[in-house]
Symmetry: C2
Subunit: 328 residues, 2 copies
Amino acid sequence: MNISEFAEYAGVSKSAVSRYFNNGYLSADKREMIEKAIEETGYSPSFSAQAIKTRVTKLVGVIIPKLSSESCARITEGISQVLYEHGYQILLVNTANDYNREIEYLELFRQNRVDGVIFLATVFTEVHRSVMNKMHIPVVIVGQQYKGFSCVCHDDYGAAYALTELMLKKGAVRPAYIGVTDEDKAAGEARHKGFLKALADYDIKLEKQNGMTAEFNIDSGYKCAKRLLSGGNIPDCIFCATDNIAAGAIRYCRESGIKVPGEVMICGVGDSKISTVTAIPITSARLHYKTAGIEAAQMLLNSIGKASVVPKIMKLDYEIAERESTDR
Amino acid sequence: MNISEFAEYAGVSKSAVSRYFNNGYLSADKREMIEKAIEETGYSPSFSAQAIKTRVTKLVGVIIPKLSSESCARITEGISQVLYEHGYQILLVNTANDYNREIEYLELFRQNRVDGVIFLATVFTEVHRSVMNKMHIPVVIVGQQYKGFSCVCHDDYGAAYALTELMLKKGAVRPAYIGVTDEDKAAGEARHKGFLKALADYDIKLEKQNGMTAEFNIDSGYKCAKRLLSGGNIPDCIFCATDNIAAGAIRYCRESGIKVPGEVMICGVGDSKISTVTAIPITSARLHYKTAGIEAAQMLLNSIGKASVVPKIMKLDYEIAERESTDR
DNA sequence: ATAATATATAAAACCGATTTCATAAAAAGG
DNA sequence: CCTTTTTATGAAATCGGTTTTATATATTAT
């Protein structure tokens, strides 16, 4: 049923029906007639038809690298909560860590379809910048700082520094690092730099074979820990860039009889659910993922419809959750 | 830029442009002119305008109870993969376990906006049925069986039976159960029944105080395990309806010095990431979440556009992943 | 009482596409 | 060579709404 048929059914004009849904002038009796007709028919206006005229879709594109990652899911949950409260909906794109798909969907969103975009990105390329610059709808980036765009991010550097310092203060002198690629500015580079800075400040140096790059999962942490810990002269602490990596490392230690924290301290980042239930609970830095999603969504909603917006950066604080894996 | 402006720019008629995007009759030179103009302007047709005329939105509504649950995330990942391959996108609704919001969005989708709905539901009410019956777009339900609708679900009953049998065969005689509400037909009722049937078949009875209902999280498992294990005459095995509950139970055992599996065997369901890294790795049943999402999406795509479709039920098999928590 | 303003209404134009229609040119068939 | 079919084309109608316009009526101000 379209607006004309409905208007006829209700005994009013199309314009009156439209005004009813858009708070225009409308007499009480017409309002009543329309309400009664809605009751009877269940009519509601077509989103597509509204969008074409108003240029408002009430849709926000959310681009994420991996839905089944706890951090992504929690950010998206925060986004979802705020958008729901404001009558917006999420057009979700799971890129499965495929950078090309990020570009593909940015292009898609560039034209129409959504009112704004929230982008949980990991690695930025020149192509990203060129596409994003041509975008004429607001974009908010979560988890990274990217010049020229509004961002909500975590203090990855500070968290990594604090965790490393914690272990050094407890007497670690032969540290190791299992990180992710430095191409990832946040989880990779920033945490790496925070780790190295703490080492520098405490006059401790990283032996070359003790720095490793892993994937974002448990198995990869397991394998790296194996390489790190199967030689002689093993490290006495391992900074892991994520809790999953730390969980894998702890699993390896458990299986090979290496005492955590006795022989080697281990920490992760993210304070995910997993960190409380591992063989040895993991000391980690709580990053406020859901809050990041909430803030990003609010930032985006504040930008939608505005002619131009000054890009803002919001950096969220962290808290250290100390658990057994770094006890001394 | 709209189709008229673009057509003028390209030096062809509106109709020609439309035909270009919809594979109509078009001479080679016109095709070339249009391609050149697209190159130069980046024009692409408006989704809203297309949708209004074709009544196709290329959008699928996905309603899920909790995004940050690993099972939901994996199902959604499967859905996303298939829809992507077919040029569809996901309109995501996270209901945060609020049944009213489920109804609200079913209502919203009922009218327009999406071409089909995938519903990861937990508890069905009469209101659900009445709304879903009025739906004139296809709906596929994941994780539950619901008469009259196409469903993709797991063999919760069989998995629970097999896990329980495994523990009974290893000599357990005083079983306990930590489940979720029976209102949830799959994770609640079906697993509960599978557990009870195994007990019946092995002539073992459940002491009343050894059956408990928990929430879907680690802390709740911890608390239930505490109640279960702090008295005298404690159970010698605990069937947990989810891995999270089992992880909580294992954490309690670890903290209170109860030996797993020595004093009490524990199992979970879902074979989530967590089950491999807990203090004692958890025996669990692998449910194919991502596959469920993939199958559901395919089922839905097969129904879209068809006048009427016979509802189908697809029940996916499970596999037992035996780990230390049930060793004997 | 009259002018100015606020409220209320329907018709018509418009949003940006697709599709039908009428017509023409080219290709194929006999 | 003429008829039929296929290919190609732009104008116009249509999809389901919103918004402008023009006009009428009711209030308020002076």
